[in-house]
């Protein structure tokens, strides 16, 4: 069965590039670029893995992560968080909120693909 990744990211060209890589590897990719109603997408899509940016319009990635972990169902979905390089305080805060893995920008396409596949394997 095809697995689903939800990409919550507001940079359109990152969405295009990452979607291309993941779809080519057999993933079903859903995207959402507005932080304000990102939880609606999480509830609707019920993804196998979430890739979540820290800085989003409307609501921060940290707040969305906190809501994901507070859900009754699906609260343990693996979350790969994308942070800016050098922001160690971002990493500490993400860990405290229950992030599964984080990756700093700029990242390599292969690294994202491998991380998503590994996280999906953990969930299974």
């Amino acid at each position: 069965m095809t697995k689903t990744v939800l990409l919550i990211e507001d940079e359109p060209n990152i969405i295009v590039a990452i979607s291309f890589i993941l779809q080519r590897a057999g993933w079903r990719v859903q995207t959402h670029s507005d932080g304000a109603n990102a939880m609606e997408a999480v509830t609707r899509e019920r993804p196998d893995v979430i890739v979540l940016d820290v800085m989003l319009p409307g609501r921060s990635g940290f707040d969305i992560l906190a809501d994901i972990r507070a859900q009754d169902t699906g609260h343990d979905v693996p979350v790969l968080m994308l942070t800016a390089k050098g922001q160690t305080k971002d990493r500490a805060r993400a860990e405290a909120l229950g992030v599964t893995q984080f990756m700093t920008k700029p990242f390599a396409n292969q690294a994202v693909l491998e991380a998503v596949e590994a996280l999906a394997g953990q969930k299974a």
Binding site: E11, V16, G86, K105
Partner: protein
């Protein structure tokens, strides 16, 4: 050569204690009164025969005049050694290093100060990324664009047989992102170039504003009889950074307001009559104590009391709002001071002045007067915002009783005092006990 930062001050103290006129001492030492004035205000170094001659005329051993400088150098060299992990045995060699190799000791001290300045710059930059949302967002924008370019280019490079629709789309994206990246990089370079023009490292607006006020020696003749237009004119000559300029404007508007409450000539006449005790002056002149203290800190540079006065104003959070430095008593701008200072004690009892005679670890004695007052008229339902003002004076105030001075420090990190109940962090200068007592942190 050991730094003589405090030597001039000690010469002046001794001369005043002997009630000797500056011109008389200068004549006896064979120098001009104006040159002696520069020495006394630590604007000229002094050593060798001239120092020995002056010491003779002041009826004191010349080592007494140098003692303060040696102590300051010893503390700086010791702190530098402690920061690099030297053990206690090595630290005891610092005094011998200063005596035997004063030039090398001075070099160590200078380099330690440069390192500290660089560390403050790094901290300020890290702090700026954390607390400057505009800069953090700009950095995120640049890194996101770089990520998009990298991902897109990687796809094109690794996918020789790519669908033409995708190919066209990726080329368009690369073109867009390249332009955004160029614009973003230019904006960042411009931002950092502006920061560099303001001074060494990446200074916080507080430091930039303070540097401007220091350069004017905290006295603004145009504002003594001026208006708000003069404030704006001074701001136009001030820092380029908008935040620092706002801080300067706030300080100068307060200065202007103070001149109208207490004209400088009235203050100077009162000082001649009754001295420089701020409590006595405020009572006699009928002005609020904080205003009086700010006016004392605004005395003209040529006033005899000027080099003996320092001022620090903080808000309820302990953040510095205004600082006039004084030689021999380090008043912090971005770090916290000693919790025992009257400045912090006054916050616990707003409206009540706190006055104490303080002694620093090197034995220097200062008088401190502080008061915390509301920054604005209190309104029901809103928290009080207090500003605490502390005046530091080198000359003793007459109204203080001859009691034992309160032993204080400058800041815990470099304070050698032991068994201090107010200590908040270990000192670089003393070893941390293996098992601290439960009721004391260090």
């Amino acid at each position: 050569m050991p730094r003589s930062e405090l030597t001039g001050t000690r010469i002046r103290e001794r001369r005043l204690a002997l009630r000797m006129r500056q011109a008389d001492l200068a004549r006896a030492a064979g120098i001009s009164a104006s040159y002696l004035n520069l020495i006394e205000h630590n604007k000229r170094r002094i050593a060798g025969k001239l120092l020995a001659d002056i010491a003779t005329h002041l009826e004191v051993d010349y080592t007494e005049l140098m003692r303060g400088a040696d102590q300051a150098l010893l503390e700086t060299v010791s702190a530098a050694g402690a920061a690099t992990g030297l053990n206690e045995d090595a630290l005891t060699q610092a005094e011998g290093l200063i005596r035997g190799f004063p030039s090398w000791a001075g070099l160590i001290a200078n380099q330690a100060e440069q390192i500290a300045a660089l560390e403050r710059s790094v901290d300020a930059l890290n702090d700026r990324l954390t607390h400057d949302p505009a800069l953090a967002e700009a950095m995120h924008e640049v890194l996101s664009t770089v990520s998009a370019v990298r991902s897109t280019a990687s796809i094109l490079a690794s996918t020789p047989e790519i669908d033409p629709n995708w190919l066209g789309r990726f080329h368009t994206n690369l073109d867009e992102d390249s332009r955004r990246l160029a614009d973003g990089a230019e904006a960042m370079v411009s931002y950092f170039e502006t920061q560099a023009r303001r001074g060494p490292g990446f200074l916080a607006p507080t430091e930039v504003a303070s540097a401007f006020l220091d350069s004017a020696q905290h006295h603004f003749p145009k504002l003594e009889t001026g208006s708000e237009a003069d404030v704006e004119a001074l701001c136009a000559e001030g820092p380029e950074d908008a935040n620092a300029r706002t801080m300067v404007r706030t300080a100068l508007l307060q200065y202007l307001h103070d001149t109208r409450q207490l004209p400088m000539q009235i203050l100077r006449d009162a000082i001649l009559d009754i001295g420089v005790d701020p409590l006595v002056l405020a009572e006699e002149l009928g002005v609020p104590l904080d205003c009086l203290m700010r006016r004392l800190a605004a005395l003209p540079p040529d006033a005899p009391e000027t080099s003996d006065i320092g001022l620090l104003v903080i808000d309820s959070a302990g953040a510095a709002r205004y600082r006039r430095p004084i030689s021999g008593f380090a008043l912090p701008l971005v770090t916290a001071g000693c919790p025992l200072w009257p400045l912090y004690q006054s916050l616990a009892r707003p409206h009540y002045p706190v006055q104490s005679r303080l002694t620093l670890p090197d034995g220097a004695v200062f008088d401190a007067t502080a008061i915390a007052l509301p920054a604005k008229r209190p309104r029901p339902g809103t928290p009080d915002v207090l500003h605490a003002t502390m005046l530091i004076q080198r000359m003793p105030a007459k109204s203080l009783p001859a009691t034992r001075p309160l032993a204080v420090g400058v800041t815990c990190r470099v304070c050698a005092r032991t068994n201090c109940t107010a200590r908040r962090e270990p000192s670089l200068l003393t070893p941390v006990p293996d098992h601290p007592k439960a009721d004391t942190a260090f």
